[in-house]
Amino acid sequence: MPSFAPGLWENLSHDIHYIWPHILLMVSGLLMLWPLDTWLLPWTKAEKHKWAIPTMAILVVSLVLSIYTPNGLGFSAMYKVDGLAKGFQVLCILASIFAVMLSQKVLGALVEHTAEYYALILFATSGMLFMCGAVDLVTIYFSIELMALCIYILVAYLRQQERGIEAGMKYFLLGAFSSGIMLFGISLLFAATGGITTNLTELNQKLAVVSQDKSLLVYSGVLMVLVGLCFKVAAVPFHMWSPDVYDGAPTPITAWLATAPKAASLAVFLRVFGTGFHSISYEWEAPLMLICGASMILGNVAAIKQQSLKRLLAYSSIAHVGYMLLGVLSRDAQAGAQAVWLYMLLYLFMNTGAFAVLIYLQGKNEGERIEDFAGMGKRHPVLAFSMLVFLLSLAGIPPFIGFFGKFYIFLLAVEQGFTTLVVIALLTSAVSAFYYLEVVKQMYFKEPAEGEVEPMDSYSKFLISTACALVLVGTAFGPQLLKWTDDIRWFEKEAPAVVMEFSNK
């Protein structure tokens, strides 16, 4: 036993069962980089893009592991496994699985397939898993950095392209800056509460009784943490990077970027504001309301003018974050987490579906601009119909699942008294129908460009139509979805871990 850290090994062996999925992701990512990529791959003469298969397998295993991880608090109360953590972990892993699926060569994704690409996805996913369970400002900060560093590289992956470099650089600079702000905020809070704790539960109690002369310290600390997190989810006015980054990143990474890091960051959001700063909600409610309203308005209004579908989806994802922040605002943190989780789950499916269509068209050189969708109803009926379903679902038109997510989160927000914000949300979602229908208009009402059309391969067809079917009939499974959301909860008792089966309770 090393003497510099007494009890470290006991601690680790006692708590290690909470982080098996994370370890699996990390270790297999490392193994992939070395020695497998240098030794095993040349030996088996497999092509690089075959790395997708083990990556997928590892992600699926970690998905199952994370669902069956027992609940509990570990690592000196810095990491917690509960319904909330598990729920968002599932979303992150699902998003990563989708990203790997979308990166496939058959789909024509413009990605250079190397072991690093997949390993980085695994590392980032592991960072996200830590984010979902982190209950200490320090672990939160570290896990965010773990995720972000991998994403910076992935965003700049098209290194031969100017806009790829630009995207990576922009994301890195702004990301580093915002992390700095957040870290500064954490240290201010640490100081304001007497320099004793960064644990969220304890911080909550300390903040409630902090003396009057420290209130400025607390206020600026909370705001800085808010700014840092808002940057991660690209909420207005900290969204400037997102359209350019989305545009420059490889499209499967864009699809992933719009879902996985956001799911993890929203988990942190819920954790920090639902537990850590819950007692001082009056400090952050007004700024968060402003951010939420501004995201919905600006995201939707700015999307109208976009020429490129990728940018359009980027702006619309800003708006969707605005809707989800309504759940973070909820004074009933538990219910808020449930609504956000449900929305994110549904958004994951419809957004990935829309990106799948986009990636397919890019791969076939049919373009990514909205005009390039002209006549798609004739060229690719299945693709166009799926796209129609995804877009209407994103717009929140029933009976597609997007409506259900909106319905649930808006219902909650009205209950919590944020009626004005809900009115803004609903009106701007009517605006969003306008730009989503712009794409529909091109697909169905415009004549297609001349040229031969390649018939779709079965992989793409299967992928896209499955997603379409899920989105199409999703609302019918409302009861099942609600049962799942029921499990997205904090567990209150710190001690004995009760095994809560996340699926199908």
Binding site: P398, F403, V414, L437, K441, Y444
Partner: protein, 561 residues
């Protein structure tokens, strides 16, 4: 599930199921789509007919009810059923379906597969709106309706189709999202009071909920009322929210116009009757002067604008604004006559206006122009067409013995009781209506005939086939409206009870006094009575006693008219 409920669900969902079946037919088989769609629509209509006979006219309860849990934790149920008001409109929808399908044969020249499937999806979503007894389900059907309509206009419409389609979509969508907030607000208000999460329409309309809303602040009530009002007023459409209508009508293919005029506009008035009045009666009364003014402006303005139109379709579209304004006046009269008249007006408008659109569609198919100036003297070459056009025109302007008269007369009767001067002003709309319709008829049918028009063929068998049911119903309602009256009797009485709990009490009191004095002027006193009623009396205490008086109260004025 009872047999009648099964029949109702089958008739409602048959179109969409048929549409799913048609997905597997290749697009080239135009005839298959045409015939199959008509067959599905006719089957759905035939399935719906028995409910007309099965409906118990002596009860105001929701009949053919079927309820099952959907999302229990939210209080969302799959709850369906109909009362007389919804039954009539539901039957109107199944009745219009085959006509819309049949009239598309000639003018849909491309993409048949998509067209007929969207038509069938639209049919189910419209039927769904009328049978749902749950707010969540209602909202779903209400919104789903927009998507097929958007496609019908945007693909098969006229030159400005894209603009018209997106305008229709956004207008109606922005109206209905506000309604969603209002629904949420009431839902939580209920939950706070009862601890129950319940989305059922019955609980929204229940006396407790209405009482609860009435006990909130005035601002809250007015906002609630406005949220509902906007959603429905856009759909009706009432002045000044009507601007989408002329665009949509003019650009839509004939079947689209038929469905728009026949059914979709009724959604708005149905919404007023089903939701606005029973749920927020106090707020509605608060804003009544404004609503009345808008309805009245609609009547006169719609008629005046219709008069100057050069395009026949646009003329008929503006006539809808005018007619539905009248319908709204009837609803806002908040007495049985006004309400019944409004219901009649909905049915009549659903028969005569589609008829007019079909008639315009026929000449458009032959000459590809809708300008009145391009025609003239058509009665010489197309005598059958002229006769049918004449009948539809007469029905639309409310000639006695045809359906339009019954509605208009009853509405004016009802409105006069509550708002005499409004009724007087509204008469001008009817006079103007006669003017613009007859003027159009005259310019199209009589006068010198130009060279091109002499070659126009008269109606063929298919065209006569889809006019015939419309004419039959028009004459039927005109000559013998009692069966329709019977169906709506009890539900309307219930509605009036919900809106004006004291109405029947006052009216029967007046009737008794009148009888005692042997003076036959009870109507005049009854008209004053509702205005002097007290607000805020618990409806519970009236709940049992006026029921007994309903029949009595009806017997008295009913005999007179």
């Amino acid at each position: 599930m009872s047999g009648t409920a099964q029949l109702m669900l089958l008739a409602t969902f048959l179109p969409i199921l048929g549409g799913l079946g048609l997905l597997f037919v290749p697009n080239e088989k135009r005839e298959v789509f045409q015939k199959a769609t008509v067959a599905i629509m006719v089957a759905s209509f035939l399935l719906s007919v028995p409910l007309w006979f099965q409906y118990n006219r002596g009860s105001d309860a929701v009949q053919f009810a079927y309820v099952c849990d959907w999302m229990p934790s939210l209080g969302v149920k799959f709850s369906v059923g109909m009362d007389g008001i919804s039954l009539l409109l539901w039957l109107l929808t199944t009745f219009t379906g085959p006509i819309a399908a049949l009239c598309s044969w000639g003018n849909i020249e491309e993409r048949w597969k998509e067209y007929y499937i969207w038509l069938l999806v639209l049919q189910t979503s419209m039927l769904g709106v009328f049978i749902t007894q749950d707010m969540f389900l209602f909202y779903i059907f209400w919104e789903v309706m927009l998507v097929p309509m958007y496609f019908l206009i945007a693909i098969w419409g006229g030159p400005q189709k894209l603009y018209a389609a997106i305008k229709l979509f956004l207008y109606t969508l922005s109206g209905s999202v506000l309604m969603l907030v209002a629904i949420f607000a009431i839902y939580f208000l209920q939950h706070k009071a009862t601890g129950q999460y319940d989305f059922s329409i019955a609980s929204f309309q229940s006396a407790q909920t209405v009482q609860l809303i009435a006990s909130q602040t005035k601002t809250f009530q007015i906002l609630l009322t406005l949220a509902f009002f906007l959603a429905f007023a856009i759909k009706v459409p009432m002045f000044p929210f009507h601007t989408w209508l002329p665009d949509a009508h003019v650009q839509a293919p004939t079947a689209g116009s038929v469905i728009l005029a026949g059914i979709l506009l009724k959604m708005g008035t149905y919404g007023f009757v089903r939701f606005l009045l029973p749920i927020v009666p106090e707020g509605t009364k608060e804003l009544m002067p404004w609503f009345l003014a808008l309805a009245l402006i609609g009547v006169v303005y719609g008629a005046l604008v219709a008069m100057i139109q050069k395009d026949m379709k646009k003329l008929v579209a503006y006539s809808s604004v005018s007619h539905l304004g009248l319908c709204m006046l009837g609803i806002f009269a908040m007495n049985p006559w006004g309400m019944k008249g409004a219901m009649f007006q909905m049915l009549n408008h659903g028969v005569s206006t589609p008829g007019l659109f079909l008639a315009v569609g026929i000449v458009y198919e032959r000459r590809h122009t809708r300008m009145i100036a391009d025609y003239g003297g058509l009665s010489k070459t197309m005598p059958i067409y002229a006769t049918i056009f004449m009948l539809m025109t007469m029905s639309s302007i409310g000639l006695p013995l045809l359906n339009g008269f019954i509605g208009e007369a009853t509405i004016l009767m009802g409105t006069f009781q509550t708002w005499p001067w409004v009724a007087v002003a509204a008469t001008s709309g009817i006079i103007l209506g006669a003017a613009y319709m007859l003027w159009m008829f005259q310019r199209v049918m009589f006068g010198p005939i130009s060279e091109v028009n002499t070659k126009m063929a008269d109606l063929n068998f298919r065209e006569i086939a889809y006019f015939t049911p419309l004419i039959i119903v028009a004459v039927w309602i005109g000559l013998y409206p009692k069966p329709f009256m019977d169906i709506m009797d009890k539900p309307v009485a219930k509605l009036v009870m919900q809106v004006q709990p004291d109405f029947y009490k006052a009216e029967s009191l007046a009737a008794k006094q009148a009888e005692a004095a042997k003076v036959g002027m009870h109507g005049m006193e009854a008209q004053e009575a509702p205005e002097t009623k007290e607000h805020g009396t618990a409806p519970a205490e009236h709940a049992s006693e006026p029921k007994a008086e309903v029949s009595e109260a009806h017997a008295a004025p009913g005999g007179g008219h």
